[in-house]
């Protein structure tokens, strides 16, 4: 059984991934600070203002990163993977992969790039990021992308969720879901690396996975 390298992620996918990772990391940290300022600024500081600044800049990065990912799914020169997210096909195969992860089955089917659980998780997290962006815009009082007056344009979000204080809670809770996603996502990649011995964990840096070749 020979093994060879498989080029899984090209540079665009990897860069986009890490843009979103850093954006989420900054957003979570500054978000916690804005939610509850856990250390104070000195006499001449501008601490909260900077926290907010980085929060908003990272929010743009995350939203744009997501848009780029959606674009790559449909129009990447390397791998147009939008078909991997097909809901009905993935629903059909969901019992297979869940059975595997719950130790009911010993093996699972061979999936192309994403298994059904992954595809659903990524689709969900994409929608969740959109939701977080909308709730964030609704509680933000500025001009999105320099043109869109957020307080007015996203008033409907507040009306839908029952007022701005509730929008804040939704925004905060969706952050927790993202944190949980990141935790599970990292665990899963470590798990796959340990079980499959295919270098999944480092592939998002190097771009290469080990492909087991059946002779």
């Amino acid at each position: 059984m020979a093994e060879e390298l498989k080029y899984e992620w090209n540079f665009a996918f990897r860069l986009d991934h890490w843009v979103r990772v850093s954006a989420i990391a900054i957003l979570v940290f500054t978000g916690f600070y804005i939610h509850w300022p856990f250390f104070g600024g000195g006499p001449d500081s501008f601490l909260m203002a900077w926290m907010r600044f980085f929060h908003f800049v990272s929010a743009y990065a995350l939203v744009l990163g997501l848009i780029v990912r959606a674009y790559l799914a449909f129009n990447s020169a390397f791998d147009r993977d939008w078909k991997d997210f097909g809901i009905f096909r993935n629903l059909r195969d969901l019992p297979d992969i869940i059975g595997y992860y719950l130790f009911i089955k010993g093996t699972h089917k061979d999936y192309r790039k994403y298994n059904p659980l992954q595809a659903f998780a990524y689709l969900f997290i994409g929608l969740l990021i959109i939701f977080t962006a909308f709730t964030g815009a609704a509680i933000y009082n500025g001009k999105a992308f320099g043109v869109l007056n957020t307080a007015e344009s996203f008033m409907w979000v507040n009306t839908l969720l029952g007022g701005e204080s509730y929008t804040r809670i939704w925004h905060f809770l969706s952050m927790w879901v993202i944190i949980i996603f990141v935790g599970v996502h990292v665990y899963m990649s470590i798990l796959q690396t340990a079980v499959g011995k295919d270098r999944t964990f480092t592939s998002i840096l190097t771009g290469y996975k080990l492909k087991k070749k059946t002779p």
Binding site: W36, F46, M48, M155, W156, G163, F172, V184
Partner: protein
């Protein structure tokens, strides 16, 4: 001089008689122009509009379920202030709390106003929708509202009770109190209501809307909650005098502390300024002397829809979250997040242990993507 501002001599004499000098009157007109966002060219127009109104703009002020705090806010003035000037001029035909007439006499005045029509209807207090829970001289409050909304030229709901129910509509709300807009919808009256939220209403807002109506003959531009954009268009937080402390990350952690004495930001004490839209920091209360944050209290969000339920507790950063489906369980957003986070970590740990126990990581062929 008289020609320049165009206000008639007779009217000025009438004001003089009430102890208001022409100069003070024009100063008031100037201030009104300023907070309506109009240029000073409008000052004579405002003066003329008020003069015109002095002859024919009646106002009916109805009190429903409330503590009359808005009336208090209106009449607690140290000297003949803007509110008194305008409302004297406007001929307030009926206001239960402050009118001299009582009983049958008062009811007669009210009936006459209704017959004449063309009044500005100002409503203070929420409307009980449960039968028998709110009645004045044998009539249901909601029926009185219905009767008087018809002939009115404009309906102003003043104070949080009248706009969306406010304090009397807070949980458990035994009288099923609703705001004016909702009450009118229920009795099938389709008329725009101007909501002047705040608890109590800021009299300057009330005057602003009334003068705006007299001057331009139309209602001001409203936001999606029916509040005039000119007063409810900007976030409190953005105009707060303590904003610099917020941006610097300087916060009050405890009442009675040194930070509080220094006037740091009240964000951590539960200030709802960042989610409340009102011009309070600019226009202030009580003859423009002070407002809650200037007095050292966190803003409680009284200018917003859903207050107070959606903004309680007043001294907490985010209100309690009700978990749907689990009756009686309330937890703060922080706790929910932390619990969910810990549960996930535990789930991951259990799965990792199970993986190790199953020996999957050791075997080559047992699983994993190929």
């Amino acid at each position: 001089m008289e020609k320049k501002d165009g206000v008639g001599k007779q009217f000025l004499e009438a004001l003089e008689f009430q102890g208001i000098k022409r100069r003070d009157f024009l100063k008031f007109c100037g201030a009104t122009a300023a907070f309506l966002g109009l240029s000073d060219l409008y000052i004579p127009k405002i003066a003329r509009a008020i003069e015109k109104a002095s002859k024919r703009q009646p106002v009916v002020w109805l009190n429903f379920a409330s503590d009359s705090g808005c009336t208090e806010s209106l009449i607690k003035a140290t000297y003949p202030n803007a509110a008194e000037i305008v409302l004297d001029i406007l001929s307030v035909d009926y206001n239960e709390t402050i009118m001299a007439a009582a009983g049958k006499q008062a009811e007669e005045i009210l009936e006459k106003s209704k017959k004449d029509g063309g009044y500005i209807l100002i409503i203070e207090g929420g409307i009980p929708t449960k039968k028998g829970h709110g009645m004045i001289s044998g009539k249901e409050m909601i029926d009185i509202l219905k009767d008087f909304s018809g002939p009115a030229v404009a309906i102003l709901a003043v104070g949080s009770c009248a706009t969306f129910g406010g304090v009397p509509s807070a949980k458990p709300n035994p009288s099923e109190i609703v705001g004016v807009t909702e009450a009118l919808k229920r009795v099938g009256v389709n008329k725009p209501v101007i909501n002047l939220d705040l608890c109590p209403v800021n009299v300057e807002y009330l005057i602003g809307v009334v003068v705006n109506y007299l001057l331009l003959g139309k209602l001001p531009e409203l936001d999606s909650f029916g509040r005039p954009k000119m007063f409810y268009g900007q976030c409190i937080h953005d105009n707060c005098e303590r904003r610099a402390h917020f941006d610097a990350g300087r916060f009050v952690e405890q009442f009675g502390s040194n930070e509080e004495a220094l006037g740091y930001c009240l964000y951590k004490m539960g200030c709802k300024g960042p989610m409340t839209y009102s011009a309070c920091p600019k226009i202030l209360y009580n003859d423009r002397i002070s407002w809650c944050i200037k007095a050292g209290a966190p803003f409680i969000g009284c200018a917003e829809h859903g207050w107070p339920d959606k903004f309680a507790g007043f001294y907490e950063r985010l209100p309690d979250v009700k978990i749907p489906g689990i009756a009686g369980v309330e937890a703060t957003a922080d706790k929910i997040g932390a619990i969910a986070g810990v549960a996930t970590a535990a789930g991951i740990a259990v799965h990792a242990i199970a993986t190790a126990a199953s020996g999957r990581a050791k075997g080559e062929k047992k699983g994993g993507e190929e």
